[in-house]
């Protein structure tokens, strides 16, 4: 190798060393940032794997009333009007409404449901009883207590009542199964009254699915099978 090429090679190496020295702090910052990113929870991963609800972007924008918590800390619900592209189909509409409720308000203080909870399935039976299957995060991440659990269920039932009149009662499942309680207090073996007009047709049931109507039992089995397939 002649001296001229040696000089060129030395110059290139010197530039590479300088470039590496300049890039090193940026690389360190990137590694540090990557370390601080919160690990995805199992629920978040599950939500990404779940089929996305049918898009309704073609639907007209409708004013929907969502019931989130008050920011005063007094554990009351406050109606908030939001514009959403809502389907006319009651099941799709209820899914969109509940997913918006789960996504949460602008102010995270007003949340009533855990941010990592997901709606896994939703059905409305001909008798007006709806079955909503939520991920385990709804039970695991909600603050423990009678007040906080009741606020969570009230926000679901009142939001459904305001936006999906076809739903008269609501049965809540956790990961495809009937749960004894939401987080140790509120009884989930019963159905919750949503639309009071439905009270005359069927009183809320206080015991388990074994004494619910046959259609509820069928829907329960359907949700269970769907959950197993996933």
């Amino acid at each position: 190798m002649n001296p001229k090429w040696r000089l060129w090679l030395g110059g290139v190496l010197a530039v590479a060393v300088i470039a590496a020295a300049l890039y090193f702090p940026a690389l360190r910052r990137q590694v540090y940032r990557a370390k601080t990113i919160t690990e995805k929870t199992a629920e978040q991963a599950r939500r990404e794997l779940l089929p996305i609800a049918p898009a309704t972007s073609g639907e007209p924008m409708v004013k929907a009333k969502m019931f989130w918590g008050s920011t005063d800390g007094d554990a009351t619900l406050v109606p908030v009007t939001v514009e959403l592209p809502l389907s006319n189909d009651p099941t799709l509409r209820a899914k969109e409404i509940l997913n918006t409720l789960l996504a949460g308000p602008v102010d995270p203080e007003a949340r009533t449901l855990p941010p990592d909870a997901a709606l896994l399935a939703f059905y409305i039976l001909p008798n007006g009883t709806a079955v909503a299957d939520f991920s385990e995060a709804l039970a695991n991440s909600i603050p423990s207590g009678i007040q906080s659990e009741q606020l969570a269920v009230d926000s679901i039932t009142r939001t459904l009542e305001a936006n999906v009149p076809q739903v008269q009662r609501l049965k809540i499942l956790i990961h495809g199964q009937e749960a004894d309680t939401l987080a140790g207090h509120l009884d989930l073996t019963q159905t919750f009254q949503v639309n009071m007009n439905g009270a005359a047709t069927q009183a809320p049931t206080r015991s388990g699915l074994s004494v619910l109507t046959a259609p509820v039992q069928k829907a329960y089995e359907k949700v269970k099978r769907a959950t197993k397939r996933q």
Binding site: A75, P143, Q147, L151, D180, G184, L186, F192, S207
Partner: protein, 260 residues
Amino acid sequence: MKLVSAVLLGVVLCAQAQTPSSPQTPQSTSPPGTPTSPAAPPLALGQAPSVGLNIVVLDPAHGGADLGARGTEGIRESEVVLEFADAVRRALEAQGFQVIQTRQGNENPSFDDRSARANAQRGAVFVSLHIASTGLAGTVRTYVMPEASAVRDPSGLIPWDQAQAPFTTLSHKLGDMVQAELAQRFKGSPPTAQEAPIRQLRTTAAPAIAVEISSVSVENRTDLDRMVPGVADAIAHGVTAFRPSYVVPAMPGTPLVTRP
């Protein structure tokens, strides 16, 4: 299956309650780790004459691996409720009540085991103690099951999983009386009891309330400690005020008598 067996247990329990047998002395506080089975022998309705309220079953919620609500400074609901329960027990005993606790240490009896402690007594009320994760600090709320029509099978027995249904009116009365006392002592607390479908209360065949104190999120544990005497005093006075309203009938099958 679990539900069916629970219902059957309830039927068996009620069937035993309808069968005259030797009178049973009310249980005193049991040592820790000896939860009562849901099928524990009940008292015979036909043996003793009418009895009034003389027993309070006190239920410090959670326990064992179930810590309940967890807050700042490592506050655990399962521990704090024991402290409240001790004070409430002393206040009730000072009013002449016999107190049975569902747990005294760090055990976690099942919902049914806790209910069975009350269901095996005559003339008892059930008070479940909780500390909330939420709510304005320094406030207290009393909860009762929503009103429901009592379900009886043709033999007149009450299913175990709906044991609270015949008692909801009395539970509301007890809840309102206790909450009125709490509201006087803790500013910002609601004036009357609130309704909530609470699992623990559903299987309890007695006037039953849940008292929830806010909260484990207080800045300092001493803020909760300061509430202990007031909560104990309020519950004891509320239960005492309720005493004349509750008389258990002497004859089997006779409905409960509510004095005006």
